[in-house]
């Protein structure tokens, strides 16, 4: 039985991955998958409604699930359909997360009024929205770096409200009882109405009611056109610009010169009618017909959107994250019991998680048409991926579960960070002009991120050395020496990659701006990593530190890297500043404090280390 344990673990891991690829959904009768895969142009790229639903919810409330007041749980796409077509109901869902009490006071609300004391509905917020807008406008006049927690919170909430409003005006006027009927009636009365308006302008006798009706419709469509940024209607068949998508309001305004309502607008209105009046069959038929229509002109986009929706549902990084937890636990337990068997049992799921993360990163690259690292989110994915890759090699070489433990820890940690970074919205965002260079993204960014990954890995290996040495008796001489060799080797690797990566950044800067080095905060952060790795190597070569000193320096490397990765962004200056939240700041401070504490623990006299009963055989100096 014991012999087969690693194989069993491998099979369980594979089964878990397979299950995640085919998520089951409760059958509501509606073809929600089909609707979720339809394309829409938002934030500069074509994406499926599924992504719009998920990223909007993450941005608004930090999670994808929605609890309706009647106790039902809605999937993201069901929520989105309600926002589109039943805004009255959607307004009652508590999807706006407010943590800041001062912001809550703005709405005269108590935390108890919200789900989980922090989620509130649009209906609850609606009466005081003008006041929110006022406060947000005031707050946005304050410099980024100087904004208080309240100011950040009102800006964030205002952005959320705007996002929600944009969604509401995507396909219909929210106040319309039945938008499809309204459109059909408009279509029918249009010729007479236009005639009446013409006659009125010419000062001739006319049907005043008909003229008013058509003018009112125009006013409504014009309002819609300005109220949403979601471009849902594909370009006209003859349009030479393939990205000339428009929103519903604008497409409806084109009815006046054309005489006919855009069929796509009607299709979405019909979908809305079916959704609102709970008619699954016409809904599914409409989805099918609309897909067929799009298929003729947008086959590649449809394929990508379908893939993306599937990718969203599979959540490969989430599955990998869970696997990494098991990897870490199995590896740690293997140091206490069954080293051989559990060591191998930890290796297999790490390999599976690594392959899964690889597939996830490749999928994102294909969807975006970009190299792997384009923003902070993808840097977290890539740092984890690179470090775990190195861990697989270490584990293959040493077979002592240290590579697996480090891989599990770093894989889980980076994916957790990525998960929190995803709360900012769509993680596949467009690259601002100067960053729009696949060549430099593929070279500089990838290499320097590998440098980050390896510096972190050296630090994590050092953590393992310190923890095992101080708190357990499992760190024998062979293991200690092996760890020292690993850390040294990884620091060499990190020096090379962080140096080359930083320099490539300089060359990019020179190519783009004629300036090799600009002392920009992010550049400086990368430079500090290079200098720190060089310091470690020289201190070792000069005999200034031995094993334990090397470990302490490597742990400090974690601080240096986290500062460069996140800290410099918090200064709110320079070319690489992305803005940050108060929470990130405290997490960073906490992380740095924990690393300093570990260095302090490592500096305990060796007699206090459980692994090294005095006198020490290794001749370690401090």
């Amino acid at each position: 039985m014991k012999k087969y344990f690693p194989i069993i673990v491998l099979l369980i891991a594979l089964a878990g991955v397979a299950a995640s690829l085919f998520p089951s959904r409760p059958d509501s009768g509606f073809d929600l998958n089909g609707f979720g895969r339809l394309p829409v142009l938002a934030d500069g790229r074509l994406k499926p409604f599924d992504t719009v639903a998920r990223t909007s919810l993450l941005e608004l409330q930090g999670r994808q699930r929605v609890a309706a007041p009647d106790g039902r749980t809605l999937t993201p796409i069901e929520w989105l359909l309600d926002v589109f077509y039943q805004p009255g109901a959607a307004d009652q869902y508590q999807t706006f997360r407010i943590d800041n009490l001062d912001t809550l006071a703005l709405f005269d609300l108590q935390p108890e009024a919200g789900a989980g004391k922090k989620l509130f509905s649009f209906g609850q917020l609606a009466p005081k929205l003008p006041e929110l807008e006022r406060q947000a406008t005031l707050a946005s006049q304050v410099d980024n770096a100087q904004q208080s927690a309240f100011e950040r919170a009102v800006i964030k909430l205002q952005v959320g409200i705007q996002l929600y409003q944009h969604l509401k005006y995507s396909f219909a006027m929210p106040d319309s009882k039945d938008f499809l009927a309204e459109l059909l009636q408009f279509q029918e009365s249009l010729p007479a109405g236009v005639e009446a308006v013409r006659a009125k302008q010419a000062g001739q006798p006319h049907d005043e009611a008909a003229a008013q009706q058509v003018l009112e419709a125009g006013r409504r469509f014009d309002f819609m056109a300005g109220a949403t940024s979601l471009l849902t209607i594909p370009p006209e068949p003859g349009d030479a610009r393939p990205d000339n998508w428009q929103n519903t309001g604008r497409a409806l305004l084109a009815t006046f010169p054309n005489g006919n309502i855009n069929p796509n607008v009607l299709a979405y209105a019909a979908l809305g009618h079916a959704w609102r009046f709970h008619q699954p069959e016409p809904f599914n038929e409409m989805v099918r017909l609309h897909r067929e229509l799009l298929q003729k002109r947008f086959a590649p986009a449809l394929k990508k959107c379908a893939f993306e929706a599937r990718f969203n549902a599979a959540q490969p990084f989430y599955t990998a994250m869970i696997l990494y937890v098991f990897v870490f636990l199995l590896a740690v337990i293997s140091w206490l019991k069954w080293p051989e068997v559990l060591g191998r049992a930890a290796f297999y799921p790490m390999a599976v998680a690594f392959l899964l993360a690889t597939a996830g990163i490749l999928a994102r690259m294909w969807l975006e048409g970009r190299p792997p690292v384009t923003n902070l989110y993808s840097s977290a994915l890539f740092i984890g991926w690179g470090a775990v890759g190195l861990c697989l090699i270490l584990e293959k070489l040493y077979r002592n579960a240290i590579g697996s433990a480090a891989g599990g820890l770093i894989g889980f940690g980076t994916l957790l960070i990525a998960h929190h970074l995803a709360l900012g919205g769509d993680t596949m965002e467009m690259m601002r002009a100067v960053l729009d260079s696949n060549f430099w993204l593929a070279t500089h960014v990838v290499v320097v991120t590998t440098g980050y990954a390896s510096t972190f890995l050296a630090g994590i290996l050092a953590l393992i050395y310190i923890f095992r040495g101080v708190f357990t008796q499992s760190l024998d001489k062979a293991t200690a020496d092996a760890l020292a060799r690993m850390v040294y080797g990884i620091v060499c690797f990190a020096t090379l990659f962080s140096f080359v990566g930083t320099i490539l950044g300089g060359i990019w800067a020179d190519q783009s701006w004629g300036r090799f080095w600009g002392w920009d905060p992010k550049e400086n952060g990368a430079l500090i990593i290079v200098l720190w790795n060089a310091t470690i190597l020289h201190a070792r070569w000069g005999g200034l530190v031995k094993q334990r000193g090397l470990m302490c320096l490597a742990v400090f490397g974690n601080i240096v890297t986290s500062w460069s990765w996140f800290g410099v962004n918090m200064l709110g200056i320079g070319l690489h500043s992305y803005g940050f939240t108060q929470a990130t700041f405290w997490w960073l401070i906490g992380f740095i404090a924990s690393q300093l504490a570990i260095i302090a623990i490592a500096s305990l006299p060796l007699e206090k280390w459980r692994s090294f009963p005095a006198p020490r055989p290794l001749g370690v100096s401090t």
Binding site: G44, S229, G489, Q511, W519, N524, T535, L571
Partner: protein, 387 residues
Amino acid sequence: MHELLQPLVRFFVSLRLTVVLLVLSIMLVFFATLDQVQLGVWGIQHKWFFNFIVVQPVKGLPVPVFPGGYFIGGMLLINLVAAHIYRFKFTWKKVGIWLAHLGLILLIASQFFTGLEQRESQLQFHLGETKRYSEDFRLNELAVINTTDPKFDDVISIPESLLAGDTPVQNPKLPFRIVPRLYYPNSMVQMRTQAPNAPPSPATMDIGTQLAATPQPLTYKENERNMPVAFVELIGPEGSLGTWLVSPWIDEPQTFDYAGRTWQLVMRFKRYYTPYAMALLQLKNDVYPGTDIPKNFSSQVHIRDDEGNGGRDALIYMNSPLRYGGLTYYQYQMNKVDGLSVLQVVRNPTWRLPYLACLLVGLGLVIQFSLHLAGFFRKRAAAAMTA
């Protein structure tokens, strides 16, 4: 004598010094990065890096707080060179380290030269406009222009720093002395009608009598510049000609006649003239569909040099600057509505050095660490054999 030198040599070649200097340089870069919040990226370079000692004003008194970039870089350079002369023997096994260190020496040296030689300015032009100079983003100059000859202007440029002092400026081309009377490094200028309570102006001539200038705190922000005001008195052999208010706030030159010639007085952003003219033919500003996220900016320019050697068109866009006449022009800002394009103009004669340096370091590190790795696998193989 030799014995006296021994400890000195030992100090300069030691690895301990290397480590101390590396740690100091990390601290230097770290503090300088933090200081950017206050001083901006340009301010910190001169305070922390292009300096031997970092001086921090504490209650108005300059206090040295940290060794500057030149000091640490210089010491690292000495340490590196000395170690190679006294400690390292060249062997093929060490070729990686030698290459990496040689590259580093070049890199430090190139940054030193960059600090001395690099100059950045901006070229702002509207659609259809032709310009033969770029303007400094920070420095200003007082231009005294003799416009008597209709065929050309004779420009005498006086740097802003001289206006900040109180030494009169005399120039063989000028029939008068320029005496700085009052100077604000940053200011606001209003019409006196809008500031009825302003104290009387020292200016006695031209527009300056109608203007009220108030000093403003210095700004270090990336996208703001200081706008100075100076009051200058012109004194000829027969006595004072009057006091003028000069400032980049005033676009139009102030004109007067003296000694049979016509003069113009204008304080403007310091200009760097080029032996060629550049015209802005076309500009483009693309955004991603349905957003205002910029995708690309580009300027189509035409260059014509003074020898009249034909012309040349160039397209300057993001990540693709134009290198011409020893300068690099890259797309900096754009205002499509006004048809305005701003190019950043950089002069950096040593721009090739870092490329060479990096190649050497990269190669050196790869060789060195590959040798390490090979050694590691050899040892493993040997251990496996004996086991």
